[in-house]
């Protein structure tokens, strides 16, 4: 039942398949998961599915598992906290950059600035955390009918390194391995797929909001790329991404990104602009907001899915 567990949930950004830490952390319930393959909850947002399928699966999942607590995956009625499967954070691992940013996101609502910080950290584990948090963040935005361009920065950043090979440190792969080469290949493939799922999430949402933006081409491009090579041959997927780079960049070029960013700045609230302006060097002036345009944008960019 591992696909149903916290290991496979975007709200646990510390793992992806065999990559990452042995323990997990839930950014919804704010707890450490010593055995994330044994736990789950109704807020499961699966890493191995694009958003449309993940939302369908989450709806089915909620028939069996509560959203307000973590349960044992094999026994939905068992509270995971009562059987020692969750722990409170106690300030351990303070020197781990990735974990620090994840805790900051969960506890201090740092949102986009956390993703921006993780983007600057080298290594696959930081990228996995960034992509995981990004997909969870976008899922929350879109669930609340937020605009598709809530994922604009995240999509653009992911696009910049779409065809770079994921790099794993020796300590970043765990679990029993019959073949290190095969495990590493699959881990690389999973990161590439994870990048593509984020782009597909934004693309599908743009299409569902009847946008004619070229970003809607991402879905077809992603499907083409993932079909180019099997999980044991990630180099073929990379080769396909590199050969189709021009088509990807046409869908969201730097110029188009800048135009969209300016448009968003005119529409968005001061708080949101302030959050984003911190990421754009030299743009410290605040922009006056138009209250009548703000409601849907603010709703869409609220961090948590409180209902």
């Amino acid at each position: 039942m591992r696909p149903l567990s916290c290991v496979n949930c975007c709200h646990n950004p510390l793992q992806l398949g065999r990559a990452g830490t042995d323990f997990g952390y839930c950014t919804r319930h704010l707890v450490v998961l010593p055995r994330p393959e044994s736990t789950t909850c109704g807020q499961l947002f699966r890493k191995d599915l694009s958003r449309s399928s993940a939302v369908e699966e989450r709806a089915l999942h909620q028939h069996h598992y509560r959203c307000d607590r973590i349960s044992q995956v094999v026994s939905p009625k068992v509270d995971a906290a009562k059987v020692g499967l969750v722990e409170k954070t106690n300030g351990f691992f303070e020197r781990d950059v990735v974990l620090e940013e994840v805790l900051s996101y969960a506890q201090y609502d740092t949102n986009i600035s956390t993703m921006a910080a993780l983007r600057r950290v080298e290594g696959a584990r930081a990228e996995i955390a960034m992509l995981s948090l990004s997909r969870g963040y976008l899922a929350n935005c879109y669930d609340q009918q937020g605009p598709w361009w809530a994922g604009l920065h995240l999509a653009f950043w992911t696009l910049q390194r779409l065809d770079t090979e994921p790099v794993f440190a020796a300590s970043e792969l765990h679990g029993p391995m019959r073949s290190v080469a095969e495990t590493t290949a699959v881990a690389k493939w999973r990161v590439l797929a994870f990048r593509l799922y984020l782009l597909v999430d934004v693309s599908d949402e743009a299409r569902s909001q009847s946008s004619r933006d070229p970003i809607t081409r991402f879905t077809a491009l992603a499907d083409e790329a993932l079909s180019a090579g099997s999980p044991t041959r990630p180099e073929k997927v990379l080769a396909k991404l590199r050969s189709s780079r021009t088509r990807w960049m046409k869908a969201l070029s730097k110029e188009h990104y800048a135009r969209l960013r300016n448009k968003i700045r005119r529409l968005a609230s001061p708080k949101i602009v302030q959050d984003w302006q911190g990421l754009v060097p030299g743009r410290e002036k605040s922009v006056s907001a138009k209250p009548e345009l703000l409601t849907s944008v603010q709703r869409g960019l609220t961090r948590r899915g409180e209902k």
């Binding site: 399928s53 059987v83 992603a222």
Partner: protein, 154 residues
């Protein structure tokens, strides 16, 4: 020259300590849907997932579970169709083939990745038209899960 893969004689499954989950031979589930566990908890399937690697089964057994083992020959005599890891990898390409034919290529690839990572084999019980509970109980025998400490000492 094609590479010959040795078919394992014993397969392992991590499951609860009481019993192996009983499949539904009439389910007609798709292989991709089974491997990805689509449909959430309690979804119907005629397949039983196993691994050729005992350590993988231990991982799935978790803290409170157990490792069960089955002899491939015994399972096939009892009516199971054995789908080996190599057969599954052959089916899980493109849009999938046969019982793995699926509408979403990315999900076929995800299933492929899972089979590789966990050295997965499947038993298909669709031919067992009655008494599936007794058949499963007869085919799978429990072996004690080694503690992490004793595993490391070895």
């Amino acid at each position: 020259m094609s590479r010959r893969f040795k078919v394992p004689t014993t397969l392992y499954r991590g499951d609860s300590s009481e019993a192996v989950s009983v499949p539904n031979p009439h389910a007609k589930a798709n292989i991709v849907a089974h491997i990805l566990y689509l449909g959430s908890y309690g979804r119907e399937t005629q397949y039983t997932s196993t691994s050729e690697n005992e350590e993988d089964a231990e991982h799935f057994a978790g803290g409170g579970g157990a490792v069960w083992r089955a002899l491939v020959a015994e399972a096939t005599r009892a009516g199971a169709i054995h789908l080996s890891k190599q057969q599954l990898l052959g089916m899980l390409k493109g849009f999938g083939m046969g019982r793995a034919k699926w509408t979403n290529r990315a999900q076929v690839q995800e299933a492929h990745a899972n089979v590789v990572e966990w050295n997965e084999h499947l038993f298909d019980w669709e031919n067992v038209t009655s008494g599936i509970d007794q058949v499963i109980a007869g085919v799978f025998s429990k072996r004690s899960k080694l503690s992490k400490g004793s595993r490391r000492k070895q």
